[in-house]
């Protein structure tokens, strides 16, 4: 039976009163991830917004065991957790690495790549708020073209985002998927599936950030939806090399595959205040080409 809002597991592993900003998409993504794992996990978290969510000593808002590691350590620490559990004969515990885009695309890429190449048995989830939001919004390898940040002032970033999911797919992983915090049931299903698969599993989650992206706290879900409707974020999964569109991206494709223009998305956020018409056109072309590629690849249409 497909999960819906009615039959979704009621138990919570993120307790009320965590330290995230209002409208934080990361807490939503994390909440549904822990539900899908039913708390039977050990989490490794590098220095990031998730550290803040977890709370300040001696209080934590999260009811699963967690080790906070140095920024570049996430993938390797997950390897160690897995090896330790295996050596001690402990079964049925999923190791979850939960890192932001800075900790994944940039400083953590080596230890993640190493662990993935070794096919170590854990789920790596990258919650992508497209910048170093915990330090007040600086550019990362995942900051989009045209976005203004603390280190891409005035003109905005001049380069495209790094396609981390494609990089991880190239490691030959048994499961990679993209999600959005705006589609929590899709995320829930993917984590549930990933839980049953052995090897390194990579899940990318788009998590809009109101204070970093400069939009009202109440608009988080809508911004995430717009990213999917415009094709800037495509929801898919690749299981043993088989590519499937899922959730809203699948529906879009089945309804004829027409995307909303990207312009609306850029207008909705203060970080794109200096994006140029040429950049919007360039991004529209990029989105169109990628969407076409996804439609071509999808095996479930």
């Amino acid at each position: 039976m497909k999960t819906n809002a009615v039959n979704l597991i009621e138990q919570e592993w993120i307790l009320p009163g965590n330290r995230t900003c209002p409208g934080c998409a990361l807490s939503l993504a994390y909440r549904h991830t822990l539900k899908a794992l039913e708390g039977q996990c050990i989490v490794t978290v590098p220095a990031s917004c998730a550290t803040v969510l977890h709370g300040m000593y001696p209080i934590t808002a999260v009811n699963v065991p967690c080790v906070n590691t140095p920024f570049a350590s996430t993938g390797a620490s997950a390897t160690g957790l897995v090896a330790g559990l295996k050596a001690l004969g402990k079964k049925g515990i999923t190791v979850l690495a939960f890192a932001g885009d800075g900790g994944t695309h940039d400083i953590g890429i080596q230890s993640l790549s190493g662990a993935a190449e070794r096919q170590n048995d854990f789920i790596y989830m990258c919650y992508d708020n497209e910048g170093y939001m915990n330090t007040g919004n600086q550019r990362s390898g995942s900051t989009p073209l045209g976005a203004v940040s603390g280190t891409t002032p005035v003109l905005g970033k001049q380069q495209y985002q790094k396609d981390m999911t494609a990089i991880m797919e190239a490691h030959g992983l048994p499961y990679v998927a993209t999600c959005s915090a705006s589609y929590p049931l899709d995320l829930y299903e993917k984590v549930k599936k990933a839980r049953t698969i052995e090897g390194t599993r990579f899940i990318h989650v788009h998590t809009p950030c109101p204070p970093g992206w400069l939009f009202p706290f109440s608009d988080t879900i809508r911004i995430g939806e717009m990213a999917v409707e415009t094709g800037l974020v495509v929801l898919y999964e690749i299981e043993d090399g088989i590519f499937r569109l899922t959730s809203a991206s699948e529906s879009l494709a089945l309804k004829g595959g027409t995307l909303q223009p990207v312009r609306e998305y850029f207008i909705s956020q203060g970080r794109f205040k200096t994006i140029t018409e040429e950049q919007i056109d360039e991004l529209q072309n990029w989105v169109n080409a990628r969407w076409k590629h996804c439609l071509h690849r999808a095996t479930n249409l």
């Binding site: 550290t51 699963v64 065991p65 390897t79 050596a87 515990i93 790549s113």
Partner: protein, 391 residues
């Protein structure tokens, strides 16, 4: 107890000790002069001689990160490194100590770049001084074997729970083939029973470890860690006492060699102590009043023992195999600090030598002692002597 004498390279003896310790997880990256240790462990795991998880990580940073993970779930964990590898681990070393994870690591001490140099000195250990790890120095392969076993028992003791480094001089110890007494498995099992970390991560008893602490708690965290490290000396002494009862090999934080009646004492650490002993024998046979003090325990620093060993002596000459650029040599600096509050302060001379694998022969030690005494006579003890430097 049965004890077998084996001719073996010291690195392989360390691996044998790790195997006897029945380690659960090894995560390591190759670096000269440590590589033989992890290669032989990989072989033991592949052959089925050692039932452990061997993780061939992609860097030392990841090696220590993986050790952090495996130790956090309560697995007995070992790694080995040297030089650049050790300093690449650095940020994780400090976290491992603060998380109270009893990881054991053999460091085949080697110089730091640059210039790139693969040979031995103590630069890597010295730059790791303040990381919160227990640090023990050894002088030969037998001690490397013994102290590797002791390290697990010390690190995992419920009153300690601190990571521990055994410093094994690169090449001068790591690559030397020596006759070494091995212990049998039963003796090791009795000396080193299985351990259970009291706060191992487990979904049934969820805790967060390593979360952030503000200005109101950071100081207290540091105080707690510092106290744990200082108080670990009690367990270190107990462990060495017990080990001595089993093997007859006695270890102390500060070890004296023919210091009775000496008015000049040379202080060394690590493998060069053995050459220094030969020199002391020779000089004493010539009627010179020279003795040797060897520092075994580097962290926690054995203040009382060093004061007991050298206060009242006229001259002290400290050999450091590391340089603190722009400051006093690290071992000498500690010894001066330890002696400052005592009434009968010796004159202390600092000598830096043996850097980047440069040998110090027994004949050189005679020169070192003479240079030291000369320096004291000249009254310029504040100057550090760079031994053997070509200017």
């Amino acid at each position: 107890m049965t004890s077998k004498l084996v001719g073996i390279e010291s690195s392989l003896a360390v691996s044998e000790a790790v195997k006897l310790a029945n380690v659960d997880v090894i995560a390591a990256y190759p670096i000269t002069p440590q590589t033989h240790i992890v290669e032989s462990l990989a072989e033991m795991v592949a052959n089925g001689d050692l039932d452990a998880e061997y993780i061939p990580v992609e860097s030392e940073h990841s090696a220590m990160s993986a050790c952090l993970g495996s130790s956090a779930v309560g697995a007995r964990t070992f790694t080995s490194t040297a030089s650049q590898g050790l300093i690449l681990m650095h940020e994780v070393l400090l976290v491992a100590a603060s998380l109270r994870l009893p990881i054991v690591m053999a460091v085949a001490n080697r110089a730091l770049s640059g210039p790139l140099n693969i040979w031995g000195d103590h630069s890597d250990a010295m730059i790791t001084r303040d990381s919160g790890w227990i640090q023990i120095f050894v002088e030969n392969g037998q001690q490397a074997f013994d102290q590797t076993l002791c390290a697990f028992r010390i690190a995992e003791h419920k009153d300690v729970l601190l990571p521990t480094i055994i410093n094994i001089d690169g090449f001068h110890i790591s690559h030397v083939i020596e006759p070494i007494y091995f212990l049998d498995q039963q003796t090791v099992n009795e000396f080193l029973p299985p351990y259970k970390h009291p706060y191992a991560l487990d979904p049934d008893t969820p805790v967060t470890i390593g979360c952030f602490a503000g200005p109101n708690l950071y100081t207290e965290s540091m105080k707690a860690l510092d106290s744990a490290l200082r108080e670990s000396k009690k367990v270190i002494l107990e462990t060495w006492q017990k080990f001595g009862e089993i093997t007859g090999r006695q270890y102390k934080p500060v070890e004296k060699y023919k210091t009775e009646n000496a008015d000049t004492i040379l202080i060394t650490m690590g493998s060069y102590s053995e050459n220094a002993m030969m020199t002391i024998d020779k000089m004493q046979s010539e009627g010179k009043k020279v003795g040797l003090v060897r520092l075994r325990l580097w962290r926690p620093f054995p203040y009382e023992e060093i004061v007991e060993a050298i206060s009242g002596v006229k001259n002290v000459i400290v050999l450091d195999r590391a340089i603190s650029l722009g400051g006093p040599a690290p071992v000498c600096s500690e010894i001066r600090a330890a002696l400052y509050a005592t009434e009968k302060k010796p004159q202390i001379v600092s000598i830096v030598g043996g850097l980047g694998g440069r040998d110090i022969s027994p004949a050189d030690f005679i020169t070192i002692v003479e240079l030291g005494i000369e320096k004291i006579k000249s009254g310029k003890t504040e100057e550090t002597i760079m031994f053997g430097v070509r200017e």
